[in-house]
């Protein structure tokens, strides 16, 4: 049986439709990602899964338990890390961890194995107040607290938002290790590059699921021929490319522009001529392989 089953969930806030007919399931031991911009409905969905909100329509099961009826049992089973840092800033690292362990009726010693890899990195600061930790360390502490009662399902709402690139990578490595110990992990992120690290990803936008599949399948479905174009002046390059007739998409991608043309309308030669005519220098045009971000951008327009 899947760890999470969601069927036709909908949720309104006043006149805003936060979630609209959402259905999916997450297998046991899977690392499942939700990608979507701010306000897409990720947090609302996660709050329904963590029994904090009741859906208007549809039903959701976590470990076979209904999120509305069996909320008490679910609360014992899941680990939740809210999008906002929600630990006690006036308690030390150690005290926070002990508190959550006690509240879930366990001790730090009992489940230390599970959090050791993560906690060991912040242990040197265990006497420090949680409010005085750096962003990356806060995330590690919050993850430790969410794991301390050995949950079978871990729900993480944008755990890497506001964390530097190195800490983000580290964090995902930790998630991979946790997954190996058999924990089902559901994670939301606004960063598309993190999608390729999940087993499966769901793209969510304006309360609707756009697609659910593995990262490699998502890439395979990209329909256009893609070029990577560079010049010495990236800013006017983007503007000129957007003005080019027959252009489908233009996205800045690092120091290059990722460009796709409408059916049969663009080729390298005429493009180069057009850009030279606009006074660009140092032009390089090369075919590119679509990555997961290109695919999502394509799905979202």
């Amino acid at each position: 049986m899947p760890a999470i089953i969601v069927e036709h969930i909908a949720k309104h806030f006043a006149r805003v439709k936060a979630l609209n007919d959402i259905s999916f399931s997450v297998e046991k031991g899977e690392l499942f990602g939700f990608i979507g911009p701010d306000g897409a409905g990720k947090t609302t969905l996660f709050r329904i899964l963590t029994t904090l909100l009741i859906p208007d329509e549809g039903k959701a099961l976590v470990n076979g338990l209904d999120v509305v009826k069996d909320f008490r049992k679910i609360r014992q089973d899941i680990g939740y890390m809210p999008g906002r840092f929600s630990l006690y800033t006036d308690l030390s690292v150690e005290e926070n961890l002990n508190f959550y362990a006690t509240v879930f009726g366990t001790t730090v010693a009992e489940n230390y194995e599970l959090i050791r890899d993560i906690y060991i990195q912040i242990e040197p600061f265990k006497k420090r107040k949680a409010g005085k930790l750096s962003g990356g360390m806060k995330q590690k502490l919050a993850l430790s607290c969410a794991l301390i009662h050995k949950p079978s399902v871990l729900i993480l709402d944008e755990p890497t938002t506001g964390v530097d690139a190195v800490s983000r990578l580290e964090f995902w490595e930790m998630l991979k290790r946790l997954q190996k110990s058999g924990i089902t992990i559901v994670v939301a992120t606004p960063y598309m590059d993190e999608a390729s690290l999940c087993d499966r990803v769901a793209l969510i936008q304006a309360g609707k699921l756009m697609t659910i599949s593995t990262p490699s399948e998502v890439i395979k479905t990209y329909p256009w021929k893609l070029f990577s174009i560079k010049s010495d002046d990236i800013f006017s390059l983007l503007n000129d490319l957007r003005a080019y007739p027959g252009m489908h998409t233009v996205f800045a991608f690092g120091q290059a522009a990722h460009v796709s043309f409408k059916e049969g309308l663009g080729d390298e030669e005429s493009m180069k001529k057009y850009l030279q005519g606009k006074g660009h220098s140092g032009i390089t045009i090369s075919p590119a392989v679509a990555n997961i971000e290109d695919c999502f951008m394509e799905l979202m327009i």
């Binding site: 939740y80 906002r84 929600s86 006690y88 509240v103």
Partner: protein, 367 residues
């Protein structure tokens, strides 16, 4: 039980690490009590007066002496014309001017009718009123002593003020302050500490934990029961040692009733926190909706009996009113439980009602 204790320990950490909370908890009661006791008092001592004596005879001199030796008044200035009256009032030191008409003793002897004028500075009406009353009292006493030689018929009331024979204002303020401070600390502090968790988002995690609402609520309240109880003791001890307010009745009973009142105020604080998510609103409700009625409608400063009927009804649903009645009864009159059973019952009823409502209104989810 272990979960509950863990929660309580966490609450104590919060309280002891926030020096502002500590200051409110322990500084406020002492400061308030001393302020109210020393500064805000309606007893009059050594009020400055001016005397304009136009006759300067034996009788007026004797009256003046009596007035000045009463302990209530000090002579600021002897005036010699009407013009000076306005002047001394404007200077602001003099609260009262006593004027004897010309040929005072002659008129008194001949017609039995002599004129005295009292002019008060009514920019502070309460003080002016009290001073005028004192002065009239002294004058009529003197008149009685004059009459005693002439007319045998007289009615002399012998007044005795029970339970507070020296009419000390502090006897009034200590019970009132106790009600006010315990209300403030208990209701304000709990409502703030719960809404704080909501604001910081930590409530989200508490809700996702297996903690039951009653465990969260009791865990929040327990430390404050303890701390507010210490406050009650501080107020009683300070009142007794600094202001000499006695505890005539049973101290144990007094402490028990204080504990009951604290529980009532705490459950009210919880109720407030269940209807709002912001610390600011919780604070406004606690201060405006609780403090003002506690001060104004509980009989603390203004007697309930003198209020318009509608306000009197309001007074009857103010828990502090019953608590003040209880403390006065125990501290000043030395009554036993039998005399305050009714009020105790009402406080207990309020407590149960508030707890019931809080547990029912406590949201086990976010919305």
């Amino acid at each position: 039980m272990k979960r509950f204790l863990g929660f309580v320990v966490k609450e104590f950490y919060h309280i002891f690490r926030d020096y502002r909370t500590l200051l409110i908890l322990f500084g406020l009661p002492a400061i308030q009590l001393l302020l109210f006791g020393f500064v805000i008092t309606n007893e009059i001592k050594d009020a400055r007066i001016a005397i304009f004596d136009q006759s300067k005879d034996e009788v007026t001199r004797r009256i003046s002496e009596k007035v000045l030796s009463s302990g209530y008044f000090i002579l600021d200035k002897n005036l010699s014309s009407y013009k000076e009256i306005e002047q001394v009032f404007r200077q602001g030191n003099v609260k009262l001017v006593l004027i004897f008409g010309a040929d005072f003793s002659k008129k008194l002897d001949k017609t039995g009718n002599a004129r005295v004028q009292i002019i008060g500075d009514a920019s502070d009406p309460n003080t002016a009123n009290i001073l005028v009353n004192y002065l009239q009292g002294i004058l009529s006493n003197y008149l009685i002593s004059l009459n005693a030689r002439k007319i045998p018929m007289q009615i002399i009331p012998e007044v005795r003020m029970m339970y507070n024979s020296q009419m000390k204002g502090v006897y009034m303020f200590v019970p009132g302050l106790m009600a006010m401070l315990l209300m403030l600390i208990s209701a304000l502090m709990t409502s703030l500490s719960i809404t704080k968790e909501k604001e910081l988002g930590t409530m989200e995690l508490l809700l996702v934990s297996p903690l039951k609402p009653i465990q969260i609520i009791l865990g929040k309240v327990f430390p404050y029961v303890f701390l507010a109880f210490i406050d009650a003791c501080i107020i009683i001890i300070l009142g007794n040692t600094v202001f000499g307010v006695p505890v005539v009745g049973s101290v144990a009973l007094l402490l028990f009733e204080s504990l009951l009142f604290i529980c009532m105020a705490l459950s009210l604080g919880i109720l407030i926190s269940t209807i709002t998510n912001s610390q600011q609103i919780a604070m406004m409700i606690s201060l405006v909706a609780l403090m003002l009625p506690t001060i104004l409608l509980s009989g603390f400063i203004f007697p309930v009996e003198n209020m318009p009927l509608v306000l009197q009804w309001f007074c009857h649903i103010m828990p502090p009113k019953y608590f003040i009645t209880i403390i006065k009864s125990i501290m000043l009159q030395g009554n036993g439980f039998r005399y305050i059973a009714f009020e105790t019952g009402i406080l207990a009823g309020f407590t149960l009602l508030f707890i019931f409502l809080s547990v029912r209104k406590f949201k086990i989810r976010l919305a």
